[in-house]
Amino acid sequence: MAAVAPTRAEVLSLFRSLLRTARQFSDYNIREYTRRRAADAFRENRALSDAPAAAAAFVDGKKQLEVAKRQAVVYSLYAPKAKNIMEMKLQ
């Protein structure tokens, strides 16, 4: 099956889903990383001009979204009671 490049709407929807899933991580570092890495990856791949490369990146992005969704649940199941210092108000 020929690789079809994703539409702009599909890409934006995937990006929003990734950011939404990132917010659901109970761990500060993972949450920030997911958000940042997604933003940087989409920004970098914006320049991808040929269809197969863009399609491959999109498929990879969808896979990462599935992983992120599962792991957000796992991390919240085992979230420690004490918050990370970075998440607390400055004394």
Partner: protein, 453 residues
Amino acid sequence: MALSRRLLPVLLRRGGCLSAFPSAARALSTAAVPADAEEEEAVTIKGVRISGRPLYMDMQATTPVDPRVLDAMLPFYLSRYGNPHSRTHLYGWESDAAVEEARARVAALVGADSREIFFTSGATECNNIAVKGVMRFYRDRRRHVITTQTEHKCVLDSCRYLQQEGFEVTYLPVRPDGLVDVAQLADAIRPDTGLVSVMAVNNEIGVVQPLEEIGRICREKGVPFHTDAAQALGKIPIDVNQMGIGLMSLSAHKIYGPKGVGALYLRRRPRIRVEPQMSGGGQERGIRSGTVPTPLVVGFGAACEIAAKEMDYDYRRATTLQQRLLDGIRGQVDDIVINGSMEHRYPGNLNLSFAYVEGESLLMGLKEVAVSSGSACTSASLEPSYVLRALGVEEDMAHTSIRFGIGRFTTEEEVDRAIELTVHQVKKLRDMSPLYEMAKAGIDLKSIQWAQH
């Protein structure tokens, strides 16, 4: 950028993670604020009370498991729990397939062949097999080992063990910047030298040794070259053929993989043989007996695959963050020494010594930042780090060294907070320090005759 502008109000409206805005939540409630709401979240351990979990900057000790790695591992704890050496059923077959796939991923990251990778319990076990195993196999013709004074304890301890068995070991000194003198190494090689062991990236000071040069010399002289690449794997590019590496120790938990697994690279052409240290059923081609732990190995493979993709991104980020950390601290306090070469360094490892500050008290005051002084392996004793001593660092400066580890998940805010906490603590201690007063007044501390009472 139009995209982020549109998303920003969405994020703010949702409030993100509610715990980040406790005041907002409380403002909507009419219930009285419980007196000890904050206290509940504090952590008390070993008599120390911290308000929350510290920010983690000790990446050289260990790294958090990447969620993508955990995702790859979980099925093997839940339903695919077979023993990879079971030949008779699906559970064994699928477990074996997963192990072999992981093996290929580890091999790809270092430019090796799958058949050259052997799974072990970690880099310490690999170092033991490499040092003791090689020398014992060739014990009739090779009686000499060359290593450096800044190697990991397991290498040094294995060498000491060999000395008791009658082998000779040369512990090469390093220059003040932590790098080994390659000419000196070449001179030290004898006709009966059986192994040269030099670690790729030092765990305490982050210095990167000239592997290609050392590999070239070892290849010319026909001596196997072993490198402990536990801190280097996935962080700097490694190619076993370009670097002339004969044996290599790899560890999973330094590259966002699980603890308890590592791999030994053993060259096939020319073949390097070792005497196995674990006797048993002959798993891993007889090199390392024992059931291969499928979930851990799969995690290691996933970590290597991710590292291959993310190496450039992570390296650039670590460089930026390290510069931010250094500038931030140096901009506010003076009399700081960076231990180890700045040019030949992996940027995620910054070891600083603060003059006129007592090390233990500095660490005690930094309980909201998880950092270390000396390496985790030697911190049980109070002796100053032997690595810093090998660099020629004075005892008092060695005691006051702090190692900051920056990794894939470190944020700019964490670096800023670490700077703030460190500077605050250093200034506080220096204010109390009579030695600092005297030094600022221009007195040379070395010239003081301390009176006996």
